[in-house]
């Protein structure tokens, strides 16, 4: 029997990761039972485990049989609790991993539970915990409190509470142990993390109760979702993946759970996605509303309005999960995933001009109000201010939705979203939800934006809207014109553009973002969200059969537990980029809803 999936230079393929989380942070668990990524205390904090970014010094939490095995995984039904079953020649053992949710007891600041059940036979298990605080840049002190192994550094501390998992020994700045899992036996390894407070050392009964409560809380949340279409399993898994990315203390939603997983192996496109992008806001609010999550939709909209308050009427493309804008990009001295450097934290795109964000934000407000939510006077004033700002700035070149690092240009999708911004503002004003004194100006400027798009951003040669004014290259982001209703989807030019993108950017189920330069060296994989956008655009332009075929293919590209990263290498099928990626899952939900509407 062989190992389930061998590592390359210590790195597991990105596809092999499942995510668990608690609404504050997310851990990545590999199919060989190793927790290779865990920032603490929050999703955007420094990591304690970063093996996925450096297989020598990153740190991880291994737990696996000592003999060769095959591993099979699933999430416990309707939860974000992961179950890995290891089948060996001498027996079977089941590991269940959960980041537990807070309850009424004195619970740890953050808690990771790893529960080991013997299913059959006798399986020797080994584990090793190597905490490496501060992205492996901060040395920890190892010791014991009341016999419990602890590692401390500054105002952070980590305790390993083990029950029935053998004796722990400290070796090379890590704890390790072995035990035998026999049929019907249970062992438990729990990491208790403290931040600016004393460590909580939980008892076994507390851990058991909190685990059961965590499973129940996830199930309760999932049973209240109201998608009833044919892709229920994929949609609910995507909803659960999104819920993992919701930062509960503020209601912000992160674009992904990781940083610096490469868009090209060995390349430099290694970005930190642990921020909330305005770009994703319309899809996010739509997904929440479509899935019957009005409370999440309201919380997210309130967060958006709070976060954008200080910079209004100017928008940053992205905001920190606490609503601030400081996101200075820097490189960590880590080796990177399979040598992909730099390992970036922070994101320099925060200071770019991205005009499409105004369209996304006003589309978000429009969707929010259309579903019966109230927009109060202060917020209405601010939304009107954004529309005024669009009137003043839409003629400028920008960095576009893809945040190109070259010279700004007049991106077509940015201009289209400016037109959407002004149209949504006008619609909100007509309903007296926002001040209407500049309504006429929004209409006039909106017409000018559209005239620019129709005369400068359309290519008769390509029979398509192009990437930017005067270009002959195509860009899949223009599909958003269909999804966000820049024009009626039956518009001839939109239909022709969908066809052209299908011809030139599609490779099987894969769709590339664009052709041409973007100011960076190297290339990248196919962008999964673009594939879903194409499927949705096909559905909305009356080509439902093609849309369904493409969607079926895309569903089959998910990993074994139903998750997607940002990109896929069309040649090998390998996942690329950060994982799990919110936009991929948002696009899946949006497409599934569109397909259901097309059939209705």
């Amino acid at each position: 029997m062989q190992l389930h999936r061998s590592r390359i230079e210590g790195f597991m393929p990105i596809r092999e990761y499942a995510a668990i989380g608690d609404g504050r942070t997310v851990a990545l668990v590999a199919s060989d039972g190793s927790v290779d990524w865990l920032p603490l205390p929050d999703l955007d904090s420094a990591s304690v485990f970063a093996f996925v970014l450096d297989s020598e010094q990153g740190g991880r939490f291994q737990l696996e049989p000592t003999v060769p095995y095959e591993a099979q995984r699933r999430y416990l039904p309707d939860t974000n609790v992961l179950e890995t079953t290891f089948r060996t020649g001498v027996g079977t053992v089941r590991v269940t991993d959960a980041m537990t949710l807070p309850d009424e007891s004195v619970h740890p600041f953050r808690e990771l539970q790893r529960r080991v059940e013997g299913v059959s036979g006798r399986v020797a298990m080994r584990w090793r915990v190597e905490p490496r605080f501060g992205y492996a840049q901060t040395r920890a002190r190892f010791g014991r409190r009341l016999g419990v192994p602890v590692a401390t550094t500054g105002h952070d501390a980590l305790a390993l509470c083990a029950f029935g998992a053998g004796k722990s020994e400290l070796r090379a700045e890590g704890w390790e142990g072995m035990f035998e899992a026999v049929e019907a036996s249970t062992a438990l390894l729990a990491l208790s993390f403290a931040h600016q407070e004393p460590l909580v050392l939980p008892q076994r009964a507390d851990l058991d109760r909190r685990f059961e409560q965590t499973c129940a809380d996830w199930r309760r949340w999932t049973t209240h979702r109201n998608y009833a279409g044919p892709f229920r399993e994929a949609v609910l898994r995507s909803a659960l993946a999104l819920k993992l990315l919701v930062f509960a203390p503020s209601a912000a939603i992160a674009a992904a759970a990781t940083t610096a997983l490469p868009e090209e192996i060995g390349g430099e496109r290694n970005w930190d996605y642990r921020f909330s992008w305005i770009r994703d806001s319309a899809f996010t609010i739509d997904a929440f509303l479509q899935l019957g999550c009005p409370a999440e939709a309201q919380a997210y909209f309130w967060w958006l309005m709070h976060a954008t308050q200080l910079s209004a009427p100017r928008l940053h493309p992205l905001y920190r999960l606490d609503g601030s804008t400081h996101a200075q990009e820097r490189s960590l001295p880590l080796s990177g995933y399979l040598g992909s450097r730099p390992v970036n934290v922070g994101n320099g795109a925060t200071d770019q001009l991205q005009l499409d964000t105004y369209g996304e934000l006003l589309q978000t407000a429009w969707l929010y109000s259309r579903s019966g939510n109230r927009i109060d006077r202060d917020i209405g004033r601010r939304l009107a201010g954004f529309a005024d700002h669009v009137c003043a700035t839409w003629r400028q070149p920008d960095s576009g939705i893809w945040e190109v690092r070259g010279e700004p240009v007049h991106f077509t999708q940015s201009k289209m979203m400016c037109a959407v911004a002004l149209e949504r503002a006008a619609q909100l004003a007509e309903q007296d939800l926002i001040p209407r004194r500049h309504l006429a100006r929004w209409r006039t400027e909106g017409e000018e934006v559209r005239a620019f798009v129709e005369t400068r951003c359309w290519s008769e040669h390509k029979r398509s809207y192009v990437r930017f004014a005067g270009a002959e290259e195509l860009d899949a982001s223009v599909l958003l014109a269909v999804l966000h209703r820049y024009e009626d989807p039956r518009n001839e030019r939109l239909g022709a553009t969908v066809a052209a993108i299908g011809r030139e950017l599609r490779d099987g189920p894969f769709v590339h973002r664009y052709t041409g330069e973007d100011g960076l060296r190297g290339s990248e994989g196919a962008f999964l969200a673009c594939s879903f956008w194409l499927a949705e655009a096909l559905a909305r332009t009356g080509r439902a059969e093609e849309a369904n075929e493409l969607f079926d293919e895309l569903i089959s590209l998910a990993n074994d537990v139903g998750l997607y990263s940002e990109e896929i290498d069309p040649a090998s099928g390998a996942f690329l980029g950060n994982m799990p990626q919110g936009l991929s899952h948002l696009a899946l939900i949006s497409t599934a809803v569109a397909l259901a509407e097309a059939e209705a």
Partner: protein
């Protein structure tokens, strides 16, 4: 020194404090909005929350003025400068403990660092020195409270 002076100072001081905070808000120095934070503890209607919050803020302003008055009585001294010092301490307490730690614990719609996926919060937690609401928030809050304290102290001392 009189209790009526302290109450009058509390009213005027809260008026000044509220106006200063609101002005800082409009000047984009901070996102903090104390009446809004207080009012949303009782309603999710933002407009009603602000109206209710202003009432509550003035009530708290009077209560704190009575607290100041008690201390002035105990040390048998009141004045603008002493009040300003009290206000400074009050502002620091508000930034580090009252709004940062205590409010998230009692506010049903405010997140805290402990909020998990089984809760939905409408308001982000303030963070240490309320920096989540903008880096200038602590400065604005402390200055506003110094003005409040000075007015309470001065009015208390002036009243016969």
């Amino acid at each position: 020194m009189s209790i009526w002076g302290a109450l009058a100072g509390g009213f005027v001081g809260t008026l000044v404090l509220t106006t200063a905070m609101r002005s800082a808000n409009e000047l984009k120095l901070t996102r903090i909005d104390l009446p809004f934070l207080l009012g949303t503890a009782f309603t999710t209607n933002r407009t009603r929350a602000k109206a209710l919050g202003y009432l509550l803020h003035f009530a708290f302003g009077l209560l704190f003025a009575l607290g100041y008055y008690g201390i002035f009585l105990a040390i048998d001294h009141a004045g603008w400068w002493l009040g300003a010092a009290f206000g400074g301490v009050h502002g620091l307490f508000a930034s580090t403990a009252l709004v940062n730690v205590l409010l998230p614990l009692v506010h049903p719609r405010m997140g805290s660092p402990l909020s998990g996926a089984n809760t939905i919060t409408l308001l982000e937690p303030p963070g240490f020195l309320m920096r989540n609401y903008g880096p200038q928030t602590a400065l604005v809050t402390v200055l506003g409270h110094i003005a409040y304290g000075a007015i309470v102290g001065g009015f208390t001392a002036l009243a016969p």
